[in-house]
Symmetry: C2
Subunit: 309 residues, 2 copies
C-alpha cells in the first residue's frame, strides 16, 4: 500500500505528477480547497462584505466553485452569494443543466437567479442558430458574447459587487494560447485571475479556480459526489480550442508541470501588457450601456445581425 504523502496514514489513490505527491482522497480534497483559498487571498479577490454573483452553468467547474465558495462564505457573515444561471435556450440540454444548477444552489442555501436569452433578447439560442445558420458565425460565437452580457446585466440588477466565474487553469492557458494564435495578444490584458476596469459601472471579475487543473476539479466533483452535467453542449465545436487543449494535454503528459509554468508565464506577460500605455479602458455601449472596447458592444452588434436576418 502506497501511503499518502501528506497525512502519511491513509492509502494514496492519486499521483499528482507535477508535484510528485501521492494523495489520499481526504488530503486531495483539502488540497484543492486550500489552493482555492490561497488563490483568493493572493489576488485579493473578495472583500469581507462582497455581494458575489457566481456564474453557474451546471458543469463540473461551476458547481464545484459554488460548493467551495459556499463553504468559504460561512466564515464571512457579511458577504453573500447569489448563483446566476443563464438559460440560453438549448432544447434537451439546458433544461437538465438548469435543474442541476438550481439543485446545487438550494443545497448550499444559496439564492439563485435564472435569466434566459429569450426574455433578454427575444430569441433562444436554438432560434438564433436556426436564423443564422447560413451566416459566417457559429452558434458558439453568439452564445459566448450574449451569455457574458446576460451575466453582467443580472449581476448589476441584483447589486452584485463581484462576478465569480469557474474558469480553471486549463481554460486560462488555452485562452492565452488562443489569443496568441489569433494574433491578438493585447486581449491578454483583459484576462487573468482578476479583472477590474476601474470604472464605477464595471463589476470586477474573479476566477477562484484559475490555479486548479481541469483534471483535478473534475476529480474533486466526483469525490465530493457533486451532481453536475456531464454531456457536452450539442453546439460545442470550438475546433481550435480543442486542438489547443489536446496539444497542451499531450505536452503535460510528457512533461508534468508544464501547464503551471505556462500559467506562470501568462501572468508575467499579462503584467507587462497591462503596464503599457495607453491602457485600453472599456466604454459603455451606446445601445445598452454594458462594457465594450468600442462604441457598440459585440452583443448588440450580434443582436442586430440576428434581427436583420
Amino acid at each position: 500500500m502506497v501511503k499518502c504523502t501528506i497525512c502519511g496514514v491513509r492509502e494514496a489513490f492519486y499521483a499528482r505528477l507535477y508535484s510528485g505527491e501521492k494523495l489520499c482522497a481526504k488530503c486531495f480534497l483539502e488540497s484543492i480547497e486550500y489552493k482555492v483559498r490561497a488563490t483568493i487571498a493572493k489576488h485579493k479577490m473578495f472583500e469581507f462584505n462582497d455581494r458575489i454573483a457566481v456564474a453557474v452553468s451546471g458543469g463540473k467547474d461551476s458547481v464545484s466553485l459554488l460548493h467551495i465558495l459556499a463553504k468559504i462564505e460561512k466564515d464571512f457573515p457579511r458577504a453573500s452569494l447569489n448563483a446566476i444561471i443563464v438559460d440560453e435556450g438549448i432544447k434537451g440540454y439546458r433544461d437538465e443543466a438548469i435543474e442541476i444548477a438550481a439543485e446545487n444552489s438550494a443545497k448550499h442555501g444559496v439564492t439563485y437567479t435564472v435569466i434566459s436569452f429569450k426574455e433578454l433578447y427575444g430569441f433562444t439560442l436554438d432560434e438564433i442558430a436556426e436564423i443564422t445558420k447560413s451566416g459566417d458565425l457559429t452558434p458558439c460565437s453568439y452564445c459566448g458574447v450574449l451569455r457574458r452580457k446576460a451575466l453582467n446585466m443580472v449581476a448589476k440588477r441584483s447589486g452584485a459587487t463581484k462576478i465569480a466565474t469557474a474558469h480553471n487553469l486549463d481554460d486560462e492557458i488555452q485562452t492565452f494560447m488562443l489569443n496568441i494564435i489569433h494574433g491578438d495578444p493585447m486581449r491578454i490584458a483583459r484576462t487573468g485571475p482578476t479583472y477590474n476596469d476601474e470604472e464605477p459601472w464595471f463589476i470586477p471579475r474573479v476566477k477562484p479556480l484559475c490555479e486548479v487543473l481541469e483534471k483535478e476539479i473534475t476529480l474533486y466533483a466526483y469525490l465530493k459526489g457533486i451532481r453536475f452535467q456531464e454531456s457536452p453542449c450539442p453546439y460545442a465545436s470550438a475546433a481550435l480550442r480543442n486542438d489547443v487543449r489536446n496539444a497542451l494535454n499531450r505536452l503535460e503528459e510528457k512533461h508534468p508541470g508544464i501547464k503551471y509554468t505556462i500559467y506562470g508565464s501568462t501572468e508575467k506577460i499579462r503584467e507587462a501588457i497591462r503596464e503599457r500605455k495607453p491602457k485600453i479602458h472599456l466604454n459603455q455601449c451606446a445601445v445598452c450601456g454594458e462594457p465594450t472596447t468600442g462604441e457598440i458592444c459585440q452583443a448588440c452588434q450580434l443582436l442586430q445581425k440576428i434581427n436583420v436576418h
Copy 2:
C-alpha cells in the same frame, strides 16, 4: 495543369496553404528571396557598409541564408560578408558540415573563418560530453552556450558590425513557446528579428530568415540545388523542443496560417516586454568580457564545471 497564381504561365508545383497561392518553382524561389529582402528592410537589419558575420553550420537554413545574403550583398559594394563556421568537435558529423559550409562560402566568394571549441576552450564537444556524462546537463546545454560565445568572439575579432543567424519562423515561435513553457517569458525581450543591447562592445544580431517557414526554406535549398548537411547531430535530443515543434506542426496542418499569427503575437508581446522598465541590460562577463545578464557568463560557468570534473 494548375497554373502558378503569380505568373499565370508556368505549372504550379507547390500549394502555399496559408496564403492560398499555388506557385511554380521560379515564382516560389523569388517569393522567398523577396520575403527575406522585405524582412531585412522592415527591421532595418543592415547598413550599406556593414561587415556581416554569418553563422554557418552547414545545415539547410544557414547555407540558404549565405546564398541569399551573397546575392543581396552584390548591390552593396561597401558591405562585406564573412562566414563563421564553429567546429564543436563532433566526430563523424561536424567534419562533413564544415566541408559543406566552406564549399558554399567559396562558391559565393565569401571569406570564412573556422573556429573550434578545442582551440577556444581546450575541449571538443565529444570530450565535454564524455567528461560531463554523469552530470545533470546534456551535451546540447554546453554546445548552445559555447557556440554562441565562440560566434561572438570571432565576430568581434574580425571586426564584424552585425551577426546574422539563420533562425527561421519555426525556430522563432518554438523558442517563444519554450520561454513560455519554462516560465521565463522575460527572455523574450532578447529574442526576435533584431537584438541590440546598445552597448558599444555588443555586436547587434539579425535574423533575416525569421519570417520564412522551415518547410519553405528547406524547399528553397532543394530547388536551388544547394548542398547542405541533412543528417541530424548525434547528440540532438531537445525532447521538449521536438514536442513543441510537433504540436505546432499539427496545429498548422489543421489551421494553415497559425504559425504566422503566432509569430505576429510574439512580436507584439516582445514589444510590450521590451518597453518595461527597468530594462535588463547586458554586462560584460568578469572572466571573459563577453555579454552576460549576470556577472559571469553562462559559458564561463559551464567551462568551470568541465574543468572541475
